[in-house]
Amino acid sequence: MNRQIVKLFALILGLYALLFGFTSYWSVFDSDSLKANTANRRPLLEEQTIERGRILADDGRTVIARSRGVGKGNNEIFVRRYPLGSLFGNPIGYSFVDRGRVGFELSHNDELVGNKTEFLSVLDELQGHAQKGDNVQSALNENAQRAAVEGLAGRRGSVVAMVPSSGEIKAMVSIPEYDPNSVENSNTFKRLNSDDSAPLFNRATQAGYPPGSTMKVVTATAALDSGDFTPSSVLSGRSPIAIEGVPLSNSGGEQFGDIPMTTALTNSVNTWWAQAGERLGKDTMFKYMERFGFNAKPRLDYPGFQLATSGVFDGNKLLGPSDAIDIGRVAIGQERLRVTPLQMAEVAATVANQGELMEPRLWSKVIDPDGREDELNPAHQSRVMSEDTASELNDMMQDVVSEGTGTAGAVSGVDVAGKTGTAEISPGVNDAWFIGFAPADDPKIAISCIVEHTSGFGGPTCGPIFKAVAESLLGGSA
């Protein structure tokens, strides 16, 4: 019988080896895909038990988002609250167990839930700390947000304000806005999601608008920095002129003679700039567009699916210099050019920062529960143009505000550099733009503004909004 007993033991060991094999499969080898299984609610439930860090405005005091505890002891869960409601709705987004996350809440999730390196979390565990999220201070400024919202006054559009030297985003507004607190309710969420005015859509980073004449800043950069033009280079400003064989007119059919570039920018002369674009050619134009960040997603600390690329599109297909493109009309912001308000703020900020583009950033500081701070280290994105080019362009853009189409953007006591844009969508319906920066001699802030589908022109419509947002940020120095 002993031989049979040994065989029986071998069978039992074989069965136990199966148990070990299956356990190791579930707990180690297949673990990651099981955690990602949509039927697995454990990660979501667990996250609810972590006190998510606060999101603060740039002053380090104003609370944009905080977590409120519900229940007691081991049973406590945390729910997100947004004390300022819709004011920061679009850039910050929301975070709810049943709704998921978007915006800043998503892109900074790791810090907000306190996910750390393996080593640090082991240390925390040994000290018996419950996982607690870090506070994240954003670069967004409450006053600038309010100024932008009030300036847009309910009109659909967007404002982005950026610090030229650091890339920090001081204001990001998209109208219509939404209150992130309300998203928790599934009916409200459904309604917002199906609303034709798309309140959940962050126009600042997701919407592609025709840039109109604000694109002339890009064209001017290409013209000056390539060495093909100087501020005094002369072209004809008469109207109409055939561009790519199709006649192009100036705004209102206005006639200009042979004029220098400075005059052409101040008065936003379409025919002049379209000819300049044709002379520069597609390769040069695209080279400078790409230096500004076109043709790629903006390097913002934001979820990729909420970032749109700026460039020339055929439907959803991004076009390049080898495609059939009317580059003369691209040079004046027409053709099939689509840009985001964020991209145009980056254009203004680049000129303001002496030709150096900084990567845009929504965060400025991470503060862990023990008070340790990690501050933003500004990152250079590209040297778009020489300092000389930037300085020449700065002067020309000051003329736009002091005597040209952008006088409505003037800020008292401070020199402002800017460029207006009016993209005609259909007769009498425009997308109105203004991009610029101030103070012109020592730029502290660069701003882009767009109002959708308005009867007004860029300068008169967006100039005052630029002014209000700039004043809210320049404060005492203005």
Binding site: M1, L45, Q48
Partner: protein
């Protein structure tokens, strides 16, 4: 070093493990370190040492590792239950003490386990009555009749019944194994046992089917029938008898799988637990998700998610994210908190217990002792396999307890009686070996 001294020394690390486990849970739950866990550890050690003294007096030559290994499983169970719910751990500690008392009583009052042979038909009858009892006195849980209510406590008679059946089979097969082998005939390449001796074996098969149909307890019937086949194999050395038995069981199970909806459903869930992961497949998919959270080293005692957040209405009956974390699914909680290492440790302990049990069977001199030790060891080892296998989706999930670890009085008490019988067999055979060695040395 004598066997008993080895046993005593082996108990000390077990008690230290209990202390360490309770300490870990206490720190996680309350952020404070008191002397409470030392008290629990000392209490555990004291109870075990007291039992050790009983073994030392009555069974001085018994296997020195079986009791410490079982104490280690019980320690695992107590710590996990304490981590789930303090009240459950307190109950279980009481059951643990009662189990040890009955363990000691069995050793003290049943002086010669061979006496059981004389009452084998009575014992078999008792076993069958115990099996059928819940169908008439009990209420169904999860569609299966497993327990009967005795005032404040519920009692699972199958746990005791398995010992009765093993004792009967060991005795019966020991007596008949010669005729079963000699009278066998060949039929279609298979060696068939003689028909007139087949009767009682058919009764056992019938009992397993009864379990399946009336008690609706697939787990216990697999366990019983497995032990039965193991004993037939060891007694007759005829693998063909095992094949016939397996075929009979599969045919029976297949038939009932198509007529009894709950068995059919168990199979469907086993084949694809994620198909209806919020409905019928909920338990098994949650079990697998819990294990996935564990990884190699686990989340740490007290660190895993066992309770639904913001749920009111009692734990673990209502608010457990993984149902029955203290009974059927305790292995998944162990893997969650202690990782693959923790789970492997549990399986390894059962493997070591099986090794000591089968060693006992090999050392035993007479057939009854061999078959009894084999049967007891097999039924215990299979029970662990059936529930861990169910929880890890090796086999369809069926509700039996994880011996010595799961919450439940009947399980722990019955398994301690099983251990007492095993140690009695061990004492007898090892004494003979020792005396032989001493005689040879002189």
């Amino acid at each position: 070093m004598s066997a008993r001294t080895r046993e005593l020394f082996a108990l000390i690390p077990v008690a230290l493990l209990v202390t360490a486990g309770f300490t870990a849970v206490l720190i996680t739950n309350s952020d404070q370190l008191g002397n409470l866990s030392v008290f629990y550890g000392a209490y555990f050690l004291a109870v075990c040492v007291a039992t050790h003294v009983v073994i030392r007096i009555r069974l001085p030559d018994a296997d020195p590792f079986l009791f410490p290994l079982v104490a280690l499983l019980a320690a695992f169970g107590l710590v996990m239950l304490y981590r789930l719910d303090e009240g459950l751990a307190r109950d279980q500690a009481n059951w643990f003490v009662l189990g040890l008392v009955l363990f000691s009583a069995t050793i003290i009052f049943l002086r010669e386990y061979e006496a059981l042979e004389r009452y084998r038909y009575l014992i078999a009858l008792a076993g069958i009555v115990l099996l059928i009892l819940p169908r008439f006195l009990g209420h169904p849980t999860n569609d299966a009749f497993l327990a009967i209510d005795l005032g404040p406590i519920t009692f699972q008679p199958t746990e005791l019944a398995k010992i009765c059946i093993v004792v009967f089979l060991a005795s019966y097969l020991n007596e008949r194994r010669e005729v079963l082998v000699v009278g066998a005939r060949k039929f279609m390449g298979l060696v068939l046992p003689p028909l007139k001796h087949l009767g009682p074996l058919l009764v056992v098969w019938g009992a397993a089917m009864v379990l399946l149909v009336f008690i609706r307890d697939l787990g216990s019937s697999v366990m019983f029938f497995g032990a039965f086949l193991a004993l037939i194999y060891v007694a007759t050395a005829r693998i063909s008898f095992v094949i016939i038995g397996l075929l009979m069981f599969v045919v029976g199970a297949w038939f009932f799988a198509h007529t009894a909806a709950h068995i059919q459903e168990r199979f469907d869930i086993w084949l694809d637990p994620f198909h209806d992961s919020s409905g019928s497949g909920y338990q098994l998919s949650q079990s697998i998700f819990a294990q996935a959270d564990g990884g190699l080293f686990g989340r740490g005692l007290g660190e895993s998610l066992v309770q639904l957040p913001a749920c009111h209405g009692g734990f673990p009956d209502r608010c457990a994210i993984l149902p029955a974390p203290h009974t059927d699914f305790i292995y998944a909680v162990i893997v969650d908190e202690l990782g693959l290492f923790g789970g492997a440790a549990v399986v390894l302990i059962f493997a070591l217990i099986a090794e000591r049990g089968f060693k006992t069977a090999i050392l035993a001199e007479d057939g009854f002792s061999k078959l009894l030790a084999t049967g007891l060891t097999t039924v215990l080892a299979l029970q662990a396999f059936v529930i861990i296998g169910g929880v890890t989706r090796v086999i369809p999930l069926t509700g039996v307890t994880l011996p010595f670890i799961s919450y439940g009085g009947s399980s722990i008490v019955a398994n301690f009686i099983l251990l007492a019988l095993l140690l009695m067999v061990s004492d007898k055979s090892r004494r003979r070996v020792r005396l032989q060695n001493e005689a040879a040395a002189q």
